[in-house]
Structure formats: structure tokens, C-alpha cells
């Protein structure tokens, strides 16, 4: 009798151990493997300069993917983020070009606020169409993707929208190219956004609600959680993250066009899924998402540094990664 109880106890512990840890650890293990592989391919790869470069370039996708982590955790999906980047960036540059405020510093501050509000409103629109309009998020955001992209094309008249004022360009440049205590600004922003997001998702009532809604909306409703509000706010958080990505994107080139951010939604979703967040909702992994974004950028970087594989195959490789990630995720679920 005693031994059987012991065995059962051990069994329970082993099962929960497997269930909780493997899926969270898997993306980090993959990242380490990639780093080793990269070092073998090219010694320059593992240098601090190269890695900081990779991290900096992953900033846009990483920050957008943080927002996507909220949307996906609550059981929804946002396909419009790539188009939203182009739209918000265009609006922001047009606002700065309008010259309504003469002082460059003041103008920049206003433009930043403007972009943040615009991004949030775009997210709010997605959220309201999905929840109040009761349209599948896939369809709703497919629609707004077309709208945001189309409006961008119209605003730019098919060409590019470029930041004109050189004084503004000058003071805005460090937002992407500068560094704080030797760390490039985009990396600092990634870390800050991730920390805040992790705090919200794991340590606040709202975060708990997001996971509850994503894992079973009925249970959430019967527990008195305002399901539609939780989902809508997740879309607004996504819009905010897009706006933050735009704030880094605009000083980089000082210009946008109708093709800005094309397929970024797929990269963001890939990062989230590779990071271990379940696409059907109910489990969000913020740090995993960041890890996923790095993995995507690293793969591209390794391909560039190696001479075996053409870099034109990058899309195919990223597509393979998402499928492999899903397979691994499922096999880990099955074992538990």
C-alpha cells in the first residue's frame, strides 16, 4: 500500500515536471543550439558586435510579437500588424512633415504621442470589430489589413513618404542608432517592453484574465470576467506595441512606403509560436516570444554568414521553422 502511494506521488510529480518545464525550455534550447551552430559556421558570428546587430535588427518583430503574445493568449489573432506598421509610420511622418509645430523637440514629442494614439486606435478598431461585431478575428483583421495597407498606398500615392525636416531627422536619429550605457537603444526598448509585458501577463489581474479567456472563454464568462473587454484590450496592447515598433522604425530610414512591413504579421506570429505560446490561446510566454524573434533573425544571419545556403531561401527556412515548432510543441503536449 505504502509503496503504491509513493509510486503514484512520484508519477504525479514527474508528469507535472514534464508538463510545465519542457515547453517553456524548448525555445531557449533551440536558441543555444543555433548559437553553437552559428559559431561553427563562422567565427565572426559569435562576436558581441554581430550578436548586438542581430538583436537590434530583430527589434521590430520582437516588439510587435510581444503584442501578438497578448492577442494570441486571449485566443484571438491579428493579421493586420504589418499593414498597421506602414499606416502608423506614414501618418507619423506626414504629421511631422506638416510643420504645425515649429520647435523640433516639441514636434517630435507630439509626433511620438500621435503615433502611440494612432496605433492604439488601430488596435481598438480591430478589437471592436472582433468582439462587438462578432467577426472571427482572422477575417476581421484580414479586412483591416487591407484597409490599413490600402490607406498607406493612397497616402503615399504608391510611392514613398519621407521625413523632410533635417533638424527633426537629426534629433530623432539616436532613437534607433544611439545607445545607452553602450547598449543599442532598440535592445533597451526590447528589454523594457518585455519586462513590462511579462509583469502585466504574469503578475496582474488583467494578465490572469487574458489567459483565462484564451484557455476557456466560457469558464471566464461564468467567473464574471468581462470577456469582450479583455479581448479588446489585448488588441489595443497589440496596437501600442506596433506604435512602439514604428517609433524605432521611422528614424532608421526616415521613410516609409506601401511595401513597409509586408509579411511582418507572419514573422510576428512565427516568433510567438516558436516561443511556446499555444496558438489556440490559454498560455502566454513573453520571454519565449523574444527568444522566437531572435531565432528568426539568427537564422537569417547564419545564412548570410555561411556560404552553403542562398539567402533568397530565408522565407522557406522561416516557414519550415514554424512547422517544426508546432510539431515539437504538439509532441511535448502528447507526452505529458
Amino acid at each position: 500500500m505504502d509503496t503504491s502511494v509513493n509510486e503514484e506521488t512520484r508519477d504525479v510529480r514527474r508528469r507535472s515536471w514534464r508538463d510545465i518545464d519542457l515547453r517553456a525550455v524548448a525555445p531557449f534550447a533551440a536558441l543555444i543550439l543555433l548559437l553553437i551552430l552559428g559559431a561553427l559556421v563562422n567565427p565572426n558570428f559569435i562576436g558581441l558586435n554581430n550578436l548586438a546587430n542581430v538583436a537590434t535588427r530583430s527589434a521590430f518583430i520582437a516588439i510587435i510579437a510581444i503584442g501578438a503574445t497578448f492577442v494570441i493568449s486571449s485566443g484571438d489573432l491579428d493579421l493586420s500588424v504589418g499593414a498597421m506598421v506602414a499606416f502608423v509610420a506614414s501618418l507619423m511622418i506626414l504629421f511631422m512633415n506638416s510643420g504645425v509645430i515649429a520647435d523640433p523637440a516639441l514636434m517630435l514629442t507630439a509626433a511620438v504621442l500621435f503615433a502611440v494614439v494612432a496605433g492604439s486606435l488601430c488596435g481598438l478598431a480591430n478589437g471592436l470589430i472582433t468582439t462587438v461585431g462578432r467577426i472571427e478575428p482572422f477575417i476581421a483583421t484580414l479586412g483591416t489589413m487591407g484597409i490599413y495597407r490600402g490607406l498607406t498606398t493612397w497616402l503615399s500615392q504608391g510611392g514613398a513618404i519621407t521625413l523632410k525636416d533635417p533638424a527633426l531627422q537629426e534629433i530623432y536619429r539616436p532613437a534607433y542608432f544611439g545607445s545607452i550605457l553602450g547598449v543599442p537603444v532598440p535592445i533597451v526598448v526590447i528589454l523594457a517592453v518585455t519586462c513590462i509585458a511579462a509583469f502585466i501577463l504574469y503578475r496582474t489581474r488583467y494578465g490572469r484574465h487574458v489567459v483565462a479567456v484564451g484557455s476557456n472563454a466560457d469558464v471566464a464568462r461564468y467567473s464574471g470576467i468581462p470577456v469582450n473587454r479583455v479581448r479588446t484590450i489585448a488588441f489595443v496592447i497589440q496596437g501600442l506595441c506596433v506604435a512602439i515598433a514604428v517609433l524605432l522604425y521611422v528614424p532608421r530610414l526616415g521613410s516609409t512606403s506601401a511595401t513597409t512591413g509586408i509579411l511582418w504579421e507572419l514573422q510576428a506570429i512565427t516568433a510567438v509560436v516558436v516561443g511556446g505560446t499555444a496558438l489556440k490561446g490559454g498560455a502566454g510566454r513573453v520571454w519565449g516570444t523574444i527568444c522566437g524573434a531572435f531565432i528568426l533573425e539568427l537564422v537569417g544571419n547564419i545564412m548570410l554568414l555561411s556560404n552553403f545556403i542562398s539567402e533568397y531561401l530565408i522565407g522557406a527556412i522561416q516557414g519550415t521553422i514554424i512547422i517544426v515548432a508546432m510539431l515539437v510543441q504538439r509532441s511535448l503536449v502528447r507526452k505529458s
Binding site: R15, S16, R205, R208, A212, N216, V219, Y222, G224
Partner: protein
Amino acid sequence: MSSQTSGAGDGAIVLSARRISKSFNGVQVLFGVDFDLRAGEIHALMGENGAGKSTLVKILSGFEQPTSGDIILDGHSVKLPPNGAAEALGIVIIHQEFNLAEHLTVTESLFLGREVTRFGVLDRKFMRSETRRVLDLLGSHVDENAMISSLSIADKQMVEIAKAISRDARVVFMDEPTAVLSREETNFLFKQVRKLRDQGTSFVFVSHKLDEVMELTDRVTVLRDGQWIKTSPTSILDGESIAQLMVGRELSKLYPAKREPNVDEEIVLSVDAVSTGYVKDVSFEVRKGEILGFSGMIGSGRTELMEAIAGLRSRASGEVVIHGEAVPSGDVHAANRRGLAYMTKDRKSKGLLLNSRMTANLTLQSLENHGKLGYLSPASEAQALERARRRFDIRVRDGNVVAGRMSGGNQQKLLLAKVMETEPEIIIIDEPTRGIDVGTKQQIYHFISALARDGRSIIVVSSEMPEVIGLCTRVAVMREGRIVGMLEGDEISEQEIMRYAAGLKKKAAA
């Protein structure tokens, strides 16, 4: 009407179970059960909820495989094919929950999966006339071209039975077939069953209705807590002795002593002429410290009514007043804030997050108690879990186990604990003990009783009559969306509730 036919049940054994055991996730629900079904007999399978009747039926019809033991068909040990493929062997089950696709016609349902064709084209005419023939045989007036979705629950039941009959079944399992039938429809059904029995078809009749078992069946097998207790000819038993075999213990021990609230006790909840969906014009009141029962058939509108009261469903009309304050329609928060909580009967799909741990489940409804400005304090949550585990005796070896891996009884205790975290004054408990073992049932009854003694008011909605009778000081009986009877004191009995629930008796709601 002759009740038993002598001579039936002398046929050869068609289907039998030999020392069948079954476990689900390490919880054993059947312990070496034996069961014989002879050709041309109607065999009643009886037992309390959770006794293992449904599991045995599922095993003997191939829907579940036994953990150990043998199934013997026509003298040979067999492994029955799963998912209803046993129909090909003449073993048919009429499900308690309907298994009909809502968007098909009656004819299409009857021939689903074995459509008759001529030259590769559906022979609709033949299928329609065949359906008509079977329905006429049953004395049913259901239109063979009607959509399933347009039928009443009773008619759907008839279609299920017609479906079984049309498949030339040798062994038919009927799980509570009369639960939703009127007396007249039941008579038709019984007549047809007897006729088929006399032609050699065997029936297994699962029912809680003792009078029907006495009237229809040839033999009775009683299960209790997953064990075989007795098999005997129906003619030498009476209702009392069957009940004794089923329960096997003093009922009084299972339920705590009742405590009537004082007549001048404050009325905490008053429901006035509420209508929603199927529910029509329901009014009642609950006093402080009272346990009010809601009984009635499945589908009589009890859950809809409770959800409307709790704000989970909006009301078409009517008022809900808590402590003298009206509650707006369809607003869960407003109802919660005024101290009313609803505990769902559907713990797996509406009550608990099966992939989350106990803590996340426990505090989900009451997160505002665990931190300020939306920030959550893990320590405070852990404390709440410790309290709840002690208070509701939630027994798990590993505190980090996800809810989906806990036993039904522990899940139910966790759900009760979760609802109680909101500190409600009025608690609506829908099916408090669905699918849990007797020991846990008893505990839950004592929790409910203790809450009432604490001055909280409780509404117990239950399809298990003994539960309502053993626990409540007043019982409302619902039928077709209305309260048709309000019983108090000595009036609360199985027969009396049944009379109201079946529509044989009516009186104005109190």
C-alpha cells in the same frame, strides 16, 4: 395491462459480462461485475448515479473497453468494435443524450450511414416509406420529413427508438428512455418493447423509475458503487427491496439534519415573473439561511432560470431583487456585487480551467482580493489556496497539479471553493454532486448544510431526487419552463415531485 410475461427470460444467454473492471485515470469505477442478458428478456439495470450503470452499458456496447474481464457474445469471448460499430453485431444503444444531427430530416437520421441506393442514387421514396412504417409501428405521429431541430424532446426520443428498431437490433440498451416521455408515449414504447421482446429481442433498461421497472422488466440487476449486488427475477422483488439494494445504507447518514428557517427570517432574494428563453413567468422567494431545492426533468428550464438570475443570461422580462435592491438584467457583476454567486453544473467546460493549477482556478473570480491596482500577490493567493484546501478538504498530493488531472470529487470541491471565495450570501448550486463518488457527495451535502447554518441562502438545482429531498426544506418543481409546484415539509417526496414534474398535478406557485 398484464405486467410480467411468464416464460420470458428462459432463452439462451446472448450477451454477458464476466468479471468486468474499468478504471478511468486510475479511478476504478467497476469492480469485477458479472451480467447476463438472455434472448427475449427485458433486463433492468439499476443503481444510484455513479453506481457504474452507464459505464457497464458503454462497455457492453463497445463505446468503452474494459480494463479487465471478458465480454461474451453468443458463447464466444469478443472484443467489441468501438464508436458504435457494434451495431453491425446487432447491439444498439439508445443514448441518454441525444445523438441526432439537428439539420437532418427524420428519414435521413434513421438511415444515416446506411443509406439505401438504387443504381447509385439515393432511394428516397423507399427510405421514407420504411421510416413511416417504423414510426407507425411505434404509434408515433412524427412526420418522416420533419427536421430533427423542429421536434420536441419526446419526439426526438421516439426517433432514437425508431432508429434502433429499424436496425434489426438483437440487443438494445435504453438509458433512461422514458425520462422525457409522457405517460401515453411511455405506454406506446412499452407495448412496442414487449412485442419485440416476444420476437426474441433483448433489452437492457436503465432507469430510476421503480414503477416502470416493476411494470416492464423480467429481471433486475442492481449495482452499487461499481459492484454487482444482486440479479433476480422482477416478480419476486418490490420497489422497496430494490431501493434497499440500490442504496445499501441508511439515507439519513448521507444527509445532514434539516433546519427550517424561521418564517419571519428576512427575504434575501425575490424573483418576480422572470421570463427568459424557454422560462416563462417564474416567481419565488428565498429566505436567509434557507436551502431551496429546484427539481424537474432535464430540459425543464432550471439552468436557464438560474443563469438569468445570476446575470449570465439576459431576461426577457421580470425582476430579480436581492436584499431589496433590483439587479439589472444580464449583468453578472451586479449580481456578484450584491452577494449572489452561481456554481455551474458543467465544471469541466464552464467551471474550471482544466490546464491551470488550483490557485489560478481558485482565485479567478475573486482576484481583486489578492492585491492592489491590479497587481497580484502570490503569497496572498497561496494563503487562499491553503485555506480552501483545509476548509473543503481538497485532497491532492501535488499542490501544483492542473485541475484537469484532479478527480471529479476534488474538482467539484475546488469549484465550490472558487465560488465561495467571492463570499456570496446567496449561492445557486447547479447539480452539486454530478459524477462524483458517494463519500464526496456526503461531504458536499454537509458543506451546503453548514453554509446555510452560517446564514447564507442556498438554491440547489438537482436532477437527483434523493438529493433534493434529503437536503432542502422547500422544493420548487419545474416543468416546461414554469414552476408547477412548491412543496414543503412532508409533501417533499419522490412521488409528489414526480407527479408535478410529469405534469400530472399542478398548482399555483407559492
